[in-house]
């Protein structure tokens, strides 16, 4: 296929898992498979999942292991092409015109020089097209952007080229690895989903989460890690409005580390519960059952 990325991809799913692990990311087989297929076939990868399960982190680690540049586009309601693609540097163009003398202005080249790439401010999408396979393009929280922006992305992700009227068409020589994340605050358009490989990241199992804590917080005592993970998993089973993600588990371990605590008892948990539970209604619910949450597994 002509549109395959030129950047080399790992030999197998297991190899990719090992590489990610060395970067501190524990990828399940499904996630690693989806990523490898995306790298080989030059397709964007759409990661959906609960808050704080490591969707964004995945893109960062992918950039790290491949020695690629991470280009991040954070989406929000009302994002438009000026913030996503490119913008002319009007102030610099003005200064340039002022600096030119009358005679120079009549020269046709001087005017067209105003619209040279020197005066173009690159925004993330243009940077990614220029960088090609040297980049990992992270389009974060695409569900926050408007529908129109999604339609625009659709066009970009299929051709990896953009047209700037004053300069012409800029096409990617090789495709960047594109990772889209969504928290599912709204349903994405089917057309966009079809362009992407889809993977749902759920909460890790007890053993997987212990592994993650060991990887990300190597300083933590093993018994403490087990207790924290067990407590977080119990919290996820409770009827909370905002169940804690893996990020919260790691925050909790760190918070206990700051207090120099090797054991998670009710008192220590009460002091640090703010690292995991960030909703007042949930807090009331959890505080009433704190003994059960931190009980020995």
């Amino acid at each position: 296929m002509s549109d395959q990325p030129s950047g080399e991809s790992p030999a197998s799913v297991a190899a990719l898992q090992t590489q990610l692990r060395s970067a501190g990311y524990l990828a399940s087989r499904g996630l690693a498979t989806a990523t490898l297929i995306g790298m080989r076939l030059g397709r964007p990868i759409l990661l959906e999942g609960e808050v704080g399960v490591g969707k964004t982190e995945m893109a960062k680690c992918l950039a790290q292991i491949g020695g690629r540049q991470l280009i991040r586009l954070q989406c929000y309601e009302g994002i438009d092409t000026y913030q996503a693609l490119y913008e002319w540097d009007y102030a610099r163009q003005m200064l340039h015109v002022r600096a030119l003398s009358e005679s120079e202005l009549t020269d046709a080249g001087a005017v067209s020089g105003l619209y040279s790439p020197d005066f173009l401010i690159e925004r993330p999408l243009l940077s990614a097209i220029r960088a090609g396979s040297d980049a990992v393009l992270l389009i974060d929280e695409i569900d926050r952007a408007d529908d129109e922006f999604e339609a625009f992305l659709l066009e970009l992700l299929s051709d990896f080229q953009i047209t700037i009227p004053e300069i012409g068409t800029i096409a990617a020589t090789s495709r960047p690895l594109v990772v889209l994340t969504s928290n599912r605050t709204r349903e994405l358009h089917d057309a966009l989903k079809r362009r992407c490989l889809y993977h749902w990241i759920g909460y890790p199992s007890f053993d997987e989460e212990i592994e993650i804590v060991r990887l990300r917080a190597p300083g933590a005592v093993d018994t403490l890690a087990r207790k924290v993970v067990a407590a977080v998993q119990r919290l996820r089973d409770m009827d909370l409005a905002k169940p804690p993600g893996v990020a919260e588990t790691l925050d909790w371990v760190d918070a206990l580390g700051v207090l120099d605590t090797d054991d998670l008892d009710t008192a220590a948990a009460a002091d640090t519960i703010g690292a995991v539970i960030k909703d007042r209604d949930d807090l009331e619910l959890v505080e009433a059952e704190l003994d059960r949450v931190v009980a020995d597994a």
Partner: protein, 393 residues
């Protein structure tokens, strides 16, 4: 892919003409068909992708095939169980008890939540304090699940529906966005445009161009009470919801009696009678008891928290005759008021333009969190509400 035309029967062979034995391709394509037969939207391009993915991985075991298919053929989380099911039947040839996955995949928890921090252009008014509750009239506690058929719309009703649609199209509720647009009386100067003009016109003094904040359709969430005590009004409410859905851009509609049902997709039919029949079929608890608090709590947990009501005008249409705990309703209303722009409560027991809520238990519990109380006891009053929506929202 022009070569595709020459071998239309084996889409999987387009990209790997020689690398894959045809029987494997047939088996993989067959799997795509099996998924399609079960109702998954699997396109020909998805199947091509699936075959390419399998070819890239040169799978050593079936698990590679499982994950390749899962990432290329499934585009929604809701479809994963069905995919697992078909995979098990197609490749493993048996059907273990439902609920088990063919391979130990990551656990998928049921609770869904998300945070959405949209920059708030107009922070909504904070809700007031709880007030002591007084017992009032109560609703019946029976839950009757039964289909409710709707008679066809009368010509007069159709005319009213058209009027509502026209009215709302003319003046939908709006909110300001971060974007700006050209506006001769705007407060901000459009420096970018002026600089551009100045360059074009060499050094002539540029004309002043101004900008103001653009406006966007404000989402509207309708939550309709279809319990027994509202039986006389549910037809009108559904007609109202249908016209709002057709007229405005971002409208979501929910029904509740003892449980909450989302009927937005059903209302997308062109023909109002079809739409209402379909919507009526989705709701299982017509004319039953009322659990307003529990229903609103479901809304908040499943939709509100994920951002559906963020910046939205939420219209609750109910008489407030609640069989649930008043405290549960008050808590749900308080949470809802923090998750949306404005709560409008339409109560058919309210006479037009009265300011005092009727003394039902539910209304007393919900009262402190209601921004506007409206009547809506017939289609005409709903019509007048629609015309004022742009201003109250």
């Amino acid at each position: 892919m022009p070569e595709g035309a020459s071998s239309p029967n084996l889409p999987g062979s387009w990209q790997q003409p020689d690398s894959e034995p045809p029987e494997i391709v047939e088996r993989l394509v067959g799997f795509g068909h099996a998924l399609r037969d079960e109702g998954l939207p699997v396109g020909a391009d998805d199947v091509v992708m699936f075959c390419s993915a399998v070819a890239e991985l040169t799978p050593s075991d079936l698990e590679d095939v499982y994950w390749s298919g899962r990432t290329t053929l499934v585009h929604r989380r809701d479809h994963l169980p069905l995919y697992d099911d078909v995979f098990r039947r197609y490749f493993l040839g048996h059907a273990p008890p439902p609920g088990t996955e063919p391979f130990p995949a990551e656990p998928i928890s049921q609770g869904l939540s998300g945070t959405l921090n949209v920059p708030d252009s107009e922070p909504g008014a904070e809700a007031g304090d709880d007030r002591p509750m007084v017992l009032g009239r109560q609703a019946s506690g029976v839950e009757i699940r039964r289909d409710k058929r709707f008679a066809e719309c009368t010509p007069a009703e159709l005319a009213a529906l058209r009027r509502i649609m026209a009215q709302v199209r003319l003046e939908p509720p709006r909110r300001r966005t971060r974007r700006r647009r050209t506006d001769p009386s705007g407060a901000r100067l459009d420096i970018r445009r002026m600089a551009r003009d100045a360059m074009r016109l060499s050094h002539a003094a540029p004309a002043l161009h101004r900008l103001s904040r653009a406006e966007h359709a404000r989402p509207l969430v309708l939550i309709l009470d279809v319990s027994g005590s509202m039986a006389d009004h549910s037809r009108n409410l559904l007609q109202f919801a249908y016209s709002m859905r057709r007229a405005a851009q971002k409208v979501e509609v929910f029904c509740f009696g003892t449980r909450l049902t989302r009927i937005t997709p059903a209302l997308d039919r062109r023909n109002p009678d079809d739409a209402m029949k379909l919507a009526a079929g989705r709701v299982l608890d017509w004319d039953g008891g009322t659990q307003i608090g529990a229903s609103l709590d479901t809304f908040i947990r499943r939709w509100g928290r994920k951002g559906l009501s963020r910046g939205a005008t939420v219209v609750i249409c109910s008489d407030g005759l609640d069989r649930g705990e008043p405290a549960a309703l008050a808590i749900a209303m308080e949470r809802l008021s923090r998750l949306c722009h404005r709560i409008i409560w339409m109560n058919p027991l309210v006479s037009d333009h009265a300011d005092t809520p009727p003394s039902t238990l539910g209304m007393m519990a919900a009262g402190p969190f209601i921004d506007d109380l409206e009547s809506g006891h017939d289609l005409a009053s709903l019509e007048s509400f629609a015309s004022r929506l742009a201003h109250v929202g």
